[in-house]
């Protein structure tokens, strides 16, 4: 299975046509896939809160948005999640690279990893954790759920899901 194509296909099948990204090594393949597709408009952001603003506007303009980012972004976007996405009740699937989990080679990444689920729980954000590649089978249902309830929803994808870092 080409996991990058599978994710992009699920986004497109759920009508997601506006995707903003802030890169992560683990997300490089899916970002490239999205960038190349004609059925999804890709706009890179410089910071994740900016990206959430773009997504909010796109939703109000009639497009289904999504954001792809690292879990470190949760530290950047708490105010935006609370006062824009949740306050105005906007749907936002967040495909998140869960750095600092099993098979992580960079120690500093663990420092935000240990806060990630707690912060998402504090914000009452529905959160899913993809650890095995087969977990991607839930993505279609998660996207449907997100646009049913008009909430931000987090999909945490760890290094094991992405197949590790080559030499591991």
């Amino acid at each position: 299975m080409n996991i990058d194509k599978r994710i992009a296909d699920d986004l497109a099948a759920n009508g997601v046509s506006f995707v903003t990204t802030v890169p992560c090594k683990q997300l490089a393949g899916v970002i490239e896939e999205i960038d190349q597709r004609d059925d999804i408009f890709h706009i890179p952001s410089n910071k994740e809160d900016e990206g959430m603003g773009l997504c909010a506007g796109a939703w109000m303009g009639g497009k289904r948005p999504a954001i792809i980012m690292q879990n470190t972004a949760i530290g950047v976007t708490i105010n935006t999640l609370a006062t824009l996405i949740q306050y105005y009740r906007l749907p936002l699937p967040m495909l998140i690279s869960y750095r600092g989990e099993l098979r992580e080679p960079v120690a500093c990444q663990v420092e935000m990893a240990v806060h990630t689920k707690a912060l998402l729980a504090q914000l009452n954000i529905p959160t899913y954790h993809f650890h095995w590649q087969k977990d991607v089978e839930e993505l279609d249902n998660i996207l449907k759920y997100t646009f049913m309830c008009n909430k931000p929803v987090a999909i945490l994808t760890d290094a094991n899901f992405w197949g590790g870092y080559g030499d591991q």
Partner: protein
């Protein structure tokens, strides 16, 4: 002129357009001067008006006017390269540059000193960047609407706020009536 005087003057132009308005006193002033379903008021999240407006302009064909401030642009400077590389022709970013953080007590911003937002917008890749004095805002905004090009309009004006009531409309109501106006 201060911001509220500019908003009063351009209200007849804004009335027929989709407007995304900056957090705090700017939204309170616009709401009090001429509340319209085509206005999206930001109640929180400083800095994101330009980004919300850009997403909106990219998603649908109607013109979008963002009313932003120098302080809010400075807090989200990454927006300028994104605008410079992606803004469609229906996007107008009007920065009311009064050199101060109006909603928090008129503390000076760096644009009151050496920082030049028009030059920063140009350096970020924005091609149609216009800087005007407050009294010239109406014709400059009309011109931006008819230019057929994405425009960054920097309006230099005096610092100061009108006393207006806080917006008590529910955010979901603001968003819902705005989306109906966008689709209508």
């Amino acid at each position: 002129m201060i911001r509220s005087e500019i908003l009063k003057e351009i209200a007849p132009i804004l009335r027929d357009q989709l407007v995304v308005c900056n957090i705090g006193i700017p939204s309170q002033e616009l709401h009090a001067i001429d509340d319209q379903p085509t206005n999206f008021y930001m109640l929180g999240t400083m800095g994101l008006a330009s980004s919300i407006g850009l997403g909106l302009a990219l998603a649908q064909p109607k013109p979008v006017i963002v009313i932003d401030g120098d302080g809010s642009i400075l807090t989200n400077l990454g927006t300028l390269p994104t605008i410079g590389n992606n803004a469609p022709s229906n996007y107008i970013l009007m920065i009311v540059d009064n050199g101060s953080y109006g909603s928090t007590g008129d503390q000076p911003t760096y644009t009151s000193q050496r920082t030049d937002l028009a030059a920063m917008a140009r350096a970020a890749g924005c091609t149609r960047v216009v800087e005007v004095q407050d009294k010239d805002t109406s014709p400059a905004l009309e011109e931006a609407l008819s230019s057929g090009e994405a425009t960054v309009l920097v309006v230099k004006c005096d610092s100061g706020n009108a006393k207006m009531p806080v917006i008590t409309m529910d955010p979901v109501v603001i968003r819902d009536r705005f989306m109906k106006a966008v689709a209508g």
